[in-house]
């Protein structure tokens, strides 16, 4: 198996996390640095016509879109490592629901915030605005996580995992966003819980 991408990319990291949770070691990371324009090379476009990372090559299968890849890994390695998709069809539906929430609601809000904090000097007005939007999403998470330990239920899943690489960038890499935990004790506890997982620490060693 080959994974094309770079460990510091949030989307490649999402896939690496799922491989580590499933205790899969038999793969090669092929570095494709999109910041250096390597995603636009003709050989790479043949693999991923949109020029994005990551791509997974597994035998005859060439697969892109990180949230599709993590679902594939969860299905392929069912029964090995951490169960990432729940136990039955209803739990799986809940995992998919929160994967969609992450992809639709959380992701755009946190990316806007990351766009502001990654370009010093930080524009405080824009930061307040983007944190406001992210905060509204996290208010809903706070209410939900006061009733369940993880997003899809009382089990860790792809849904929680999918938040970790963008979350890490905001809270740990840029050391911003701790204000978002204020008044949201369940979100804070959830973040501290999932970010203490061994698979996550393994990813951080690579970045």
């Amino acid at each position: 198996m080959k994974l094309y991408g770079i460990a510091s990319s949030t989307c490649t990291g999402r896939v690496l996390l799922s491989l580590f949770e499933k205790e899969v070691e038999d793969f090669e990371l092929v570095i494709v640095n999109v910041r250096k324009g390597e995603g636009k090379k003709p050989e790479y476009i043949k693999l991923q016509p949109f020029g994005l990372i990551p791509v997974l090559e597994d035998g005859d299968l060439t697969l892109y879109e990180s949230r599709a890849i993590i679902r594939y890994i969860a299905n392929k390695y069912e029964g090995q490592g951490t169960a990432l998709y729940g136990k039955d069809i209803k739990e799986r539906a809940k995992v998919d629901q929160w994967l969609e929430v992450e992809g639709q609601n959380f992701n755009s809000a946190i990316r806007s915030s990351l766009g502001v904090v990654s370009k010093p000097p930080i524009d405080e007005v824009q930061l307040t605005e983007t944190f406001g939007k992210l905060g509204k999403v996290l208010d809903i998470y706070e209410e939900h996580l006061s009733k369940t330990q993880y997003l899809a239920g009382d089990f860790f899943s792809l849904a929680d995992l999918s938040h970790m690489t963008t979350g890490w960038k905001l809270f740990d890499k840029y050391k911003q966003g701790s204000i978002l935990f204020e008044g949201r004790p369940h979100v804070k506890a959830w973040w501290e819980n999932i970010s203490s997982r061994p698979a996550f620490k393994k990813l951080l060693e690579m970045i």
Binding site: P49, F50, D60, L61, L63, Y64, E65, S66, R67, A68, I69, R71, Y72, N75, K76, I89, K90, R92, A93, K94, D96, Q97, L99, E100, V101, G103, Q104, N105, I140, E143, H144
Partner: protein, 210 residues
């Protein structure tokens, strides 16, 4: 089974079309009238805390996000109606891949276009030209990639119709058939052929008639 939503809402339609493809009629539509703000009522927010439609209730399962609901229906009714997830783990992965492309690359470009060209005029507002121009340009570039792909594959995930194709139908219908601004699709030979094919399916025609 209950589907909370509106028959004209694109995301509700995504779910209704999936049910139709699976030949499943055992459900009731519970209208949530967006015009009167029913989606923001305290009772509805208990079902869907983000205040969006649709929501599926199936026994003790309450599910939101149309693409998650569509996946659930495809899996629950596996073996009935159209196979929407392919036949193998690999085919299913490709269906998920193109569902993600639809969600993250296609939808952000076509949704604002439909809002400007269909929904804004319905509310008596003029389309914002710069938004229309910018999103049309980017949609055209995206459809160039679809064109190349569909010149080698009959459908997005391979040679079988799937949830990935279905998921593109609602907004595309609004742009081509309602706004009558579908040149980006109709000017590309394989994209056009793909659109003609998927929009002529009986399940879609049934839902479009609602």
């Amino acid at each position: 089974m209950k589907v909370y939503g509106m028959p004209y809402s694109t995301c509700t339609v995504r779910v209704l079309t999936t049910l139709a493809e699976k030949d499943e009629e055992g459900y009731e539509i519970v209208p949530i009238d967006l015009q009167v703000g029913a989606h923001k009522s305290p009772e509805f927010l208990k079902l869907q805390p983000f205040g969006a439609i649709p929501v599926l209730q199936d026994g003790n399962l309450t599910l939101f996000e149309s693409r998650a609901i569509a996946r659930y229906i495809a899996e629950k009714f596996e073996g009935k109606g159209t196979a929407l997830f392919g036949k193998t783990v690999e085919e299913r992965a490709l269906v998920n891949q193109w569902l993600e492309v639809e969600s993250h690359s296609f939808n952000p470009l076509i949704e604002p276009l439909v809002v400007q060209l269909v929904f804004a005029p319905m509310r008596g507002k003029e389309p914002v030209e710069s938004v229309v121009k910018d999103h049309t340009y980017r949609l055209e570039k995206l459809l160039d990639i679809y064109e190349a792909h569909l010149s080698e594959n009959k459908y997005l995930a391979g040679d079988f119709f799937s949830l990935a194709d279905l998921s593109h139908i609602p907004y595309t219908f609004y742009l081509i058939n309602v706004a009558k601004k579908g040149a980006a699709f109709t000017s590309r030979k394989h994209v056009n052929a793909w659109w003609e094919d998927i929009s002529s399916r009986p399940a879609w025609k049934k839902v479009a008639a609602l």
